[in-house]
Symmetry: C2
Subunit: 379 residues, 2 copies
């Protein structure tokens, strides 16, 4: 039986991928383009520099960078040198900013791969000055609330450091919002004000009008005064909801499917899976799908999680295995569902946002964790 | 300050890897060899065919297959066709068994890459017979308790199926234990008995003495009558404890480190990270490490998890970010710990087993989930 036309199309169109690993991510390029247009509107005249770190939020940094370049983006943020080298080898003409250069702070490797560092500490400034030319630009990161990476407000104020800042060619000064998802949180404005003061001081010291950046994805929804010169959206391209407890203004761009690899009728009192953690109360039709905890389908969902067939919610039975999960398809008559049919993990029937909540986490973590060992198709 | 000599050695020896991503898996080959020798003893005269699925339990299927070949193993089990193709392209002379061929059951691709299927259903037998020669061998999987993959006992007994089994060239018949970690669980013996009956029936039908396999890693500790002709250890090579609530007879072969990328003194009442979920009760020295939830350091450990510096347990502060985590290093005096120093996630101070428990899961899932985006060094 065709579950629905759309899923039958997927099954047919991507059969060569599905037969290899039995599961598939669909990356909806139209939705990325839609999200990109919303980001673009929100960003006014600011430069948009997408964040593609953590292997493109799990979806493959090269694939995603390629899409973003097609959409006209020319500057991207990456997490570390390893990602920088990988992307630079493939893409020669984009600007790459490295958020966390790592230790030892290695100027040679940055230069070799034309990577622009985000400088996070006085210690890093000193090394950078010693080993670079005045023309070599950097981004300076001010820590205004995260207490994670960046130079502190008091370090910016400290007159002893003037000589250091003066020697830098600062392309942008940036900070990172700690509570941008909460529009009403007063911290946002506090961070903005402190950051602007820092930018002003640094402009004075360097005698340049330094450009600045505070917005991550969620920051774009805080109002136009947060936009500044450059914005750094990441999650918004994937359609992850930028605001807590509000309807998502974006379109989720990823869905995940797994194939049914076996169907069985089992009798009352049968157990399922490792440790026999569940016993059937009646005769049951079960299906085994090609997805397990090694794909990020968390073992904590054992006997609790669900998938979708058509618009029907189908429960997980027993412990989730490394690459297999058993589900209860008794809602269908025997023969109605066949091996090779697809189940949805998230997609049209359950948003990534909802699935993340069921996993007691956020869509960011779900994406990063589920991107492994699963083929990805751009549709 | 040197935390201890060992960790200083690691820091120095692998500095080129550490500077790229700020984190590092060490795969201890000596311990794999030790575990291999224990597996070998336990396996008596049986053939040992390692299971290297889920990208070699997250550690890289090619790297691990290479080590296993060096140790003399010539037959391996993989999860699916995708893994089969990847390994076959690199290694021409080993036997590769595919546990879950996927749908549609594709005989051509199996032959093209010389992959031997584990056949899990009558449906698959029919396709295999139609599209293969009598000489093409397969492994037949009998489901004796898992209710996951495999042919049922009743299907083996069913006389109608004789003609199907008769046409197969069965290299091995296998089943999978559901509770092998629990030595006293009566299910183990029940599965063994039912499985042996199946093997006997199939030997009679095919007029061959069919070889058989029931043991996963834990099965090897159930006693010699479980050994049979072939054993399929996977986790045991990594030193994952094969028995519940017993001392581990194996040596864990993996440890994980992350680099301190920044150190700060912050004042009383400062908050840390996204959502300001923690407020300092006193002036605190914090460090930011290059590891986050995108590396599988679960966000559920926010404000709860820990790492080790030397033999000191160091707490996580605030929410774990995508690729960064903040820790409280006030146990040390300022200056005692420096950027570039390494913290241990699991290793000599905390076993993978213990770390998995802190994550409410099993070492298998931890390994699979933490293998992403982190360089691995064989030491």
């Amino acid at each position: 039986m065709a579950i629905n036309k759309n899923i039958e199309d997927i099954k047919y169109k991507y059969k060569n991928y599905l037969l290899q690993s039995g599961n598939l991510f669909l990356i909806n390029k139209k939705n990325i383009i839609y999200n990109s247009s919303i980001i673009s509107k929100k960003s006014k005249n600011a430069i948009i520099s997408p964040v593609v770190k953590a292997n493109g939020y799990g979806m493959g940094v090269l694939t995603i960078t390629n899409i973003l370049i097609e959409l006209g983006y020319k500057k991207i943020f990456l997490a570390n040198i390893a990602e920088g080298i990988e992307v630079r080898k493939k893409f020669k003409n984009i600007e790459i900013y490295i958020l966390n250069v790592g230790k030892p702070f290695n100027t040679n490797i940055l230069k070799k791969y034309k990577l622009i560092p985000v400088i996070n500490s006085l210690e890093e400034i000193k090394i950078w000055i010693e080993n670079s030319q005045k023309k070599d630009s950097c981004i300076l990161h001010i820590d205004t609330a995260m207490n994670r990476l960046g130079i502190s407000y008091s370090e910016v104020l400290d007159k002893q450091n003037k000589i250091l800042f003066h020697k830098l060619n600062i392309k942008y000064v940036m900070t990172h919002l700690a509570c941008a998802e909460e529009k009403k949180n007063i911290l946002n404005l506090k961070q903005l004000k402190e950051f602007k003061k820092c930018a002003k001081i640094l402009s004075k010291i360097t005698k340049c009008s330094i450009k600045s950046s505070i917005c991550n994805s969620s920051g774009l929804w805080l109002g136009s005064k947060y936009i500044l010169d450059l914005v750094r959206p990441g999650a918004a391209f994937w359609g992850i909801n930028p605001q807590n407890n509000k309807q998502n203004p974006l379109k989720e761009a990823v869905s995940l499917y797994a194939q049914i690899t076996q169907i069985k009728k089992i009798s009352k009192n049968s157990s399922i899976g490792y440790g026999q953690t569940v016993k059937m109360k009646k005769d049951t039709i079960i299906a085994t799908i090609s997805l397990g905890y090694s794909h990020g389908f968390s073992r904590l969902l054992s006997n609790k999680g669900s998938v979708y067939i058509g618009n029907k919610k189908i429960n997980v039975l027993g412990r989730i295995s490394m690459d297999l999960t058993v589900i209860d398809i008794s809602k269908f008559t025997y023969g109605e569902i066949r091996t090779g049919d697809l189940v949805e993990i998230f997609g049209p029937n359950r948003s990534l946002e909802k699935f993340a909540k069921e996993n007691k986490t956020i869509p960011y973590e779900m994406l990063c964790n589920m991107g492994k060992n699963i083929p990805k198709m751009i549709v």
